[in-house]
């Protein structure tokens, strides 16, 4: 009993300290539920700090958390560090070779005006003693986290050869229970779940958020008029437009990769079919024509076709078609339920929800070999969404009777959950790269 009380107290303290640190940070915890043994060894020295408050350490914590979350790095604990350098000149490389830190990150933050900071960092190769890369930023204090994510992206790309996706955003729906019933919040946050902003609140369901390719707009489905309709909302000022309010269902919006078109689902002609709306001319073209359910359109990254879910074989399976609706071909044959497809930016992988043993899990298909790999084994996984670099998949799942967001690496090796303290969270959508 005593021990469990101690544990509860410890958990409470962690939550409280989070609250004190920053209200925005208190809403979620990130838990790595499955990790890897072998990552690229890296030591991140807390940045030196000259200014009003102590933020140097929190910035390096963001970088550390980003790289660890990717599952491709092995961050060396600070307790092992033999010195605390803040630029390349101060580094005694033998101290870092001793603790097998192949790569070293050093940096500094200096206040250079009211609320303006100068951030410098360098990435060093410990064995050659060379500086691999280094940058300097001048930023407002509220952008320090974003700069930390940009630094993570640079380190990630320099050491893995692939573009990082830390300086991106996620959109999702949070459901709160209120006295007036359920309340739905469409929210956007940094890729690690921090700094959430509510862009729409409604007492009717919200679902199916889809990012524009420039990451400046979201299309989504709202039931605010007591049935499903599609809206496109600009993030900068919240201005929005109702783009589909036909008779019946209006749902599953998906921007084309060039941003000029919106694929969506409508039952205006009596059956759920996939249509494409030209956002400039407002012309609407029907792509599917089948008495089965056709839904969940998602564009191929080259814009030359779409994948979608169809019940035409008697159960949901995944199909591909050209942008004019021609050339329909079935992609999935194994299992009785494969749905909600989307293709990675390199066009190589397709992620979907598959049913097996009564469970709905995230699975990826290699589009060349058609080989399917199950990434999760939870009961009710939904809404998988690739990071723009295709290395991670964000999805919704249930944990302790609550909706949570989770992420898994596309090879299934690393898994983590983003747990929000308030409400049920669902329907995540990972943004494209921010420009």
């Amino acid at each position: 009993m005593k021990l469990s009380n101690m544990k509860k107290l410890a958990a409470l303290l962690i939550i409280l300290s989070g609250l004190l640190a920053s209200p925005a940070q208190a809403v979620l915890t990130i838990e790595i539920t499955k990790g890897v043994d072998v990552g690229i060894p890296i030591a991140i020295v807390p940045f030196s700090w000259k200014g009003a408050a102590v933020a140097g350490e929190s910035m390096t914590k963001v970088i550390d958390a980003d790289l660890t979350r990717s599952g491709r790095f092995d961050s060396i604990p600070q307790a092992d560090f033999l010195q605390q350098p803040h630029n390349a000149k101060q580094v005694r490389f033998k101290d870092w070779r001793l603790i097998k830190a192949d790569n070293l990150v050093v940096g500094s933050i200096e206040q250079s005006g009211s609320g303006v900071y100068k951030v410098k960092f360098q990435l060093l190769d410990v064995y050659s003693g060379k500086t691999l890369t280094g940058y300097q930023y001048t930023v407002q204090s509220d952008k320090l986290r974003n700069v930390a994510h940009q630094i993570s992206d640079i380190i990630y790309e320099r050491l893995t050869g692939e573009k990082g996706a830390f300086n991106t955003m996620i959109a999702y729906v949070t459901v709160e229970r209120t006295k007036k019933g359920r309340r739905y919040l469409l929210q956007v946050a940094d890729s690690d779940g921090f700094s959430p902003h509510t862009i729409l609140a409604s007492h009717q369901p919200l679902m199916s958020a889809s990012w524009s390719p420039d990451a400046r707009k979201l299309a989504y489905v709202s039931f605010e008029k007591k049935r499903s309709m599609i809206y496109i909302q600009r993030l900068s000022d919240g201005k929005r437009e109702n783009v589909a309010s036909f008779k019946g269902i209006n749902s599953a919006p998906a921007f084309s990769p060039d941003g000029t078109k919106l694929a969506f689902v409508s039952s205006k002609e009596g059956n759920t079919e996939i249509y494409v709306l030209d956002l400039r001319t407002r012309a609407i073209k029907r792509l599917t024509n089948h008495h089965g359910i056709d839904t969940e359109p998602s564009w191929l990254p080259n814009g030359r076709g779409l994948v979608f879910t169809s019940g035409r074989s008697g159960q949901p399976q995944i199909y591909q078609m050209n942008t004019d609706g021609s050339g329909v071909q079935r992609l999935t044959y194994s299992g009785k339920y494969n749905a909600r497809p989307s293709v990675s930016a390199d066009g190589k992988l397709l992620v979907m929800i598959s049913r097996g043993n009564g469970r709905y899990h995230v699975a990826v298909m290699d589009l060349r070999t058609k080989e399917i790999t199950k990434l999760t084994d939870t009961l009710l996984d939904e809404s998988p969404s690739f990071a723009p670099n295709g290395r991670m998949v964000l999805y919704a799942t249930e944990q302790g009777n609550k909706g949570v967001l989770a992420a898994v690496s596309s090879d299934g090796r690393v898994r983590q959950s983003l747990r929000f303290l308030q409400g049920d969270v669902r329907e995540p959508a990972w943004s494209p790269y921010l420009r």
Binding site: P205, S208, F223, K226, I249, E296, R340, L379, L380, E427
Partner: protein
């Protein structure tokens, strides 16, 4: 449903109205099983969906009219025999009250993807609407609204909750 079975059902409904009351007890029991929270009528005055007392000849179908939820099997929009009977009772009511408007709200359980379930909810509502129209209800007065899995009535993650959530709700405009 093919045309032959539709004709059969019309005949069945006509017979049902004629011998009113004979299927009263079975419907009542199932209403309770389904846990839809609607109490069926006793011996007092019975009211139709419009809130007005029902005429004597209609009292047999009143129990069925008080059932405003129709349940479905997993990933199915087929009506079973019991659901068919409920739908037919409402169809007859709509046919006899041609100015009454009704919204058919389709729902799904939480399993599977949200968008597919939205389409499934609409199919379920449409299956009920097909019965209404086949039996003479005015299509202009019927609206199909799907909520997919977004508005569950039971919150659990097991079959007992799922079976309650796979439903069509018949909502009359008052």
């Amino acid at each position: 449903m093919n045309n032959t079975s539709k004709l059969f059902l019309i005949a069945l409904l006509a017979g049902m109205v004629a011998v009113s009351g004979c299927n009263k007890k079975t419907r009542k029991a199932e209403g309770a099983d389904m846990g839809d929270g609607v109490s069926t009528s006793g011996t007092g005055t019975e009211f139709g969906p419009d809130g007005k007392p029902l005429g004597e000849w209609q009292s047999g179908s009143a129990d069925m009219l008080s059932q405003t939820r129709i349940y479905f099997a997993y990933d199915s929009s087929d009506l079973d025999v019991d659901s068919q009977a409920i739908a037919e009772a409402h169809a007859a009511y709509l046919r006899d009250n041609p100015s009454t408007r009704v919204v058919l709200e389709g729902h799904a359980d939480e399993r599977g993807t949200r968008e597919y379930n939205l389409a499934l909810g609409e199919r379920r509502a449409q299956a009920v609407i097909d019965v209404f129209i086949a039996l003479g209800a005015n299509p202009a007065n019927i609206e199909n609204v799907s909520y997919g899995e977004e508005n569950p009535v039971a919150e659990g993650h097991d079959e007992s909750a799922w079976s309650l959530n796979r439903r069509v709700e018949i909502r009359y405009d008052r």
